[in-house]
């Protein structure tokens, strides 16, 4: 019985027997199927995953012809975090010319629509310069980040303080008021950047503050699509499951709380989203085979019902990528290959 070198979800290395890998693959898909009420992966798909994990090569890639389009979030932030001292414009040139990027993404270090609103007139000329010196499509990305609308960062009472006090109605009222303000900010910033020439707008980490956060993104998308029929909106989620922080918010008659990716994408389509980015969170206590199998089960179900392009989120800590700032190439490349080859997705 051979041994397979792989890793836990936090990136730490582990050696597993072939039986243990097969067991983790089966348990991962069963976990997703039970939670999401979706089908498990087939025997053939699990065997394909096993073959990927049992490959002795340190790096693997998709079969020729299976390549997909890549989009990004927080691109310039990744460069500045490593203290490579280039401006955001040069950062995007590096991604385009040196890193094989299919698309580019401009974003502000404080990656939320609310703080960008007050200085968007500084973002517009930078975006216009970026568009003049690059060829690939340029997205502008930021988060709805509803947390910034409650005290002490915003004007409304903090639901996280109200809920433990049993003030449910007050907490819900705060979320509802936050949605209204967030939609206004998202539309204001996105309109300015679209009118400066952006190829697309990314609403990223949507749902981080729960169902109200998701609703704000959907409503803002609706407004933007009505205002600019040709605009491309990519909506990327924060987690696999929409938290019911409000609990009763609905969109198009459907309750948002508790939605899994296969339901989230239908709400996104209804709002007019062009590209949807579903998320599955990585469990650090489980192996990468378990996480990959689980993530693919969710993403496959989402891709099967989607009529719009799907760019699965595979950044740090999501899509079975390890929760570590320096993802090991062995498991990162395996997760990438597995996700693309089994799900009929359109991008990452």
């Amino acid at each position: 019985m051979g041994k397979i070198q792989t890793r836990y979800g936090d990136g730490s290395p582990v050696e597993l027997s072939e039986d243990a890998v097969r067991r983790d693959l089966e348990e991962g898909t069963q976990d997703a199927a039970q939670r999401g009420n979706i089908p498990v992966l087939s025997k053939e798909e699990l065997q394909h995953l096993f073959d990927i994990f049992s490959s002795p090569h340190r790096f693997v890639g998709v079969a020729p012809g299976k390549e997909v389009v890549l989009s990004y979030d927080g691109t310039p932030i990744k460069m500045s975090r490593t203290q490579v001292n280039v401006d955001r414009l040069q950062c995007l040139q590096i991604y385009e010319k040196l890193m094989g990027a299919d698309t580019l993404e401009l974003g502000y270090p404080d990656y939320s629509f609310k703080p960008i609103k007050s200085m968007v007139t500084y973002e517009q000329p930078l975006l216009e310069q970026v568009l003049a010196v690059t060829t690939a499509p340029v997205f502008y990305g930021a988060m709805p980040n509803l947390g910034l609308y409650s005290q002490p960062d915003g004007p409304f009472p903090n639901p996280s303080e109200l809920l433990p006090q049993g003030k449910i109605d007050e907490a819900r009222a705060s979320y509802e008021a936050s949605v209204e303000h967030a939609v206004r900010d998202i539309v204001y910033v996105s309109s300015a950047l679209y009118e400066s020439g952006a190829d697309a707008i990314i609403l990223d980490t949507v749902g981080a503050a729960g169902d109200a956060d998701f609703l704000a993104a959907l409503m803002a998308t609706e407004v933007l699509r009505e205002k600019y029929p040709g605009i491309c909106v990519e909506l990327g989620m924060a987690g696999e499951f929409v938290l019911g922080m409000h609990g009763e918010m609905t969109y198009n008659g459907e309750r948002l709380a508790g939605m899994y990716p296969q339901d989230q994408v239908k709400a996104a389509e209804k709002a007019g989203v062009t590209i949807f980015g579903p998320v599955v969170n990585t469990n650090t206590n489980q192996s990468t085979p378990w996480n990959v199998s689980r993530a693919i089960t969710y993403m496959k179900a989402c891709c099967e019902v989607a009529t719009i392009p799907i760019h699965v989120n595979m950044g740090m800590g999501v899509g079975a990528m390890t929760v570590h700032d320096h993802p090991p190439l062995d498991v990162a490349s395996r997760a990438s290959k597995a996700m693309v080859e089994i799900c009929r997705l359109d991008g990452l």
Partner: protein, 110 residues
């Protein structure tokens, strides 16, 4: 999150279309402009470029095709169309609207 080598470059090499080294940016434009799924987008671009779908990720073939069609290349020669100039040609060849190209025309009263 994640450092560029471990995240962006890993995905680009393992699963990406190669960006401007090949035709990744062009296929992406069809998802943006028309909401096309990946297979449809690849076929559309291949047809417009008069190449096979398999050629779209081949940097040797695509560099020549991009140079011939003036779509912008990684190492442009002096005088060869690049950046905004290339995007004018991409919009025309793919028969799509590119927001910044339209804005350029409007601002320059073209």
């Amino acid at each position: 999150m994640g450092d560029p080598l471990g995240m962006a470059i890993t995905h680009a090499i393992a699963s990406g279309m190669g960006g401007m080294r090949a035709a990744g940016d062009l296929v992406a434009r069809m998802q943006i402009a028309r909401g096309m799924k990946i297979d449809q987008a690849k076929q559309y671009v291949a047809d417009k470029l008069k190449v096979s779908v398999a050629d779209l990720t081949d940097p040797i073939i695509m560099n020549e095709v991009r140079e011939d069609l003036k779509l912008g290349v990684l190492h442009p020669h002096a005088g060869s169309p690049k950046c905004m100039e290339a995007k004018f040609n991409i919009a025309r060849l793919l028969d799509i609207e590119i927001n910044c190209v339209n804005r350029f025309k409007e601002k320059a009263a073209l």
